[in-house]
Symmetry: C2
Subunit: 349 residues, 2 copies
Amino acid sequence: MVAKKPINTRTKAPTIRDVARVAKVSIGTASKALNANGRLSTETREKVKRVAAEIGYRPNDLAQSLHRSKSMTVGVITNDSFGRFSFPIFEALEERLAAEGIAVFMCNATDDPERERQHLDQLLGKRIDGLVVTARRTDNRAPIGRFAHGLPVIYVFTHADEDDAHSLLPDDEGGAYLATTHLASLGRKHIVHVTGPERFEAVRLRLKGYRRALKDNGLDEQVHHGPWSEVWGREAAAKLFSKKTQKPDALFCGNDQIARGAAEGLRDLGIQVPRDVAIVGFDNWEVITQAARPPLTSIDMNLKALGAEAGERLIAMIGGQKIRGARRMPCSLVIRQSCGSEMRNLSEV
Amino acid sequence: MVAKKPINTRTKAPTIRDVARVAKVSIGTASKALNANGRLSTETREKVKRVAAEIGYRPNDLAQSLHRSKSMTVGVITNDSFGRFSFPIFEALEERLAAEGIAVFMCNATDDPERERQHLDQLLGKRIDGLVVTARRTDNRAPIGRFAHGLPVIYVFTHADEDDAHSLLPDDEGGAYLATTHLASLGRKHIVHVTGPERFEAVRLRLKGYRRALKDNGLDEQVHHGPWSEVWGREAAAKLFSKKTQKPDALFCGNDQIARGAAEGLRDLGIQVPRDVAIVGFDNWEVITQAARPPLTSIDMNLKALGAEAGERLIAMIGGQKIRGARRMPCSLVIRQSCGSEMRNLSEV
DNA sequence: TTGAAAGCGCTAACAA
DNA sequence: TTGTTAGCGCTTTCAA
């Protein structure tokens, strides 16, 4: 009778004990050799390394973490199921952390506090060294604090009412100021703000920046709120230009979808962009801005920079540094053809 | 002299030893009590549980994993930096795995084989129980195999030439067949396919489905390749309808951006959609389909179902089941206003 | 019913 | 220069 091979061919990963046995040294020596510390003859060190490579040894981070009480992992909790905003942030964050040898657990909480609790519990069980909380919209959210005592937490693209909380956000107000100032600097006198629902903090902040810029330039305001959609942009354009009153010569829109809708609405009316009306959008979402006619000048929130900075700060916090308070990172203006000036790229700061 | 409090307030997480000490039982007893196994007096069990809750005890998964040689984690490696396709997949995948108590490491390899190697190495060090490989486009990719011997690997939205590989993909051909058949069933006779670059496998498969449907309906084909953009859709529409030759009465487009561009192009020419020309897109990307005029009927690849199924299968594979080969999951038709029939939802199977 | 102890894979302190 | 060993936090077997 022939012995059957085991069904599960998954061989156990070699341990440092295996390395030591094959290399005919003690476990301690093998460890020293592989960790490049301690005094050891070059000969032994080389031999151990060779053996390790041969048998495909790879240290078990789990055991290492247990020993060092540092897991070299962090968690990311988001409620942004579509990922439009959080994905670029995540990407840069992950890249920065990976460079440090830190791996990232990604969790989707989809606005459900119960699922968020479970995720957090799981992450704490895995002994994450830090936590990033991010979101679909920048508004304030419930703090995570009391469940994760002493764990470094950073809120990105969202913030929370928590004493020690540290958050990193785009400077919506500054971005809006930049957009409006740009329009004013091109000689536009009647700049209307067509934006999203007032319940969004971002909407209120952008409005603030718009107002400040108008004041600085001695211009009057006109604001219209609606949903975040192209349909609303088209409607707004139609409404604004059918009236007998003073017609705008510029639109600053709360996001690119509204801006694109407005551009289309104007096109339907035979009004030329940018000759008759200049338009600036917000988000610099290329799928939208590039396809619009004409391609849209827009404000970029620099989400990748936000993510990279978040990684940087989290690393510092894990290292024991105390960082708190909210920090808003600059937006920039990306110029395309909807304002009539040439292609270039202005920075807020 | 007053002793200063330590600067780092991060208290070490309580261990089972702490629980045992406070509850005045042995470590073994505490473990048994918390894991609901073994014979134990209800009294002791309750006491241990109470103490554990009081001091905020949470088992250390690292230690647990070390013991069980099961990390309850899996890795996801993607090259889809924008996340348009992989995010919905990831979301459903993560949800399915979380339900099983499995956490997900997310890694972005951005098409760089070297970074992919590093990520994989890190993941293997963390002793992941399984690996998901996903991508921006469904084409074949370099196999991951030889670096991860015996590790359950599943390719999602991509595939690889590897003997034992298991991959899960959308049925592009079936989706295209569904779209084309839908147009034919509405009485359209000259259905033109405006699609993306031929080097995409998805383009070739969709073309195949389109052809099969035409043949089944006794119709002639006409195919145009271009970039995946609205601009190309507009161009194609302009070109097709400026010719003196037979004009199409339907367009099946390779993606929603092309479809939307085509719809706009027709609009510019005064051609009515769907009365004169019916349009079907592909991807069912709501940002595009909803904003188009009229809103676009489109093929949905059911990416969430794909992700959930991938989770399901990976769990089975981790459980020791051998699954291999490629499986294509059905697409569905989402009807809006660009074809002239009422709102409804058809499934491929 | 409860306690003691070995062992998961690794590191670091100490001994030889 | 190399080896031995305790211990990270947990589970499980065996003994009491």
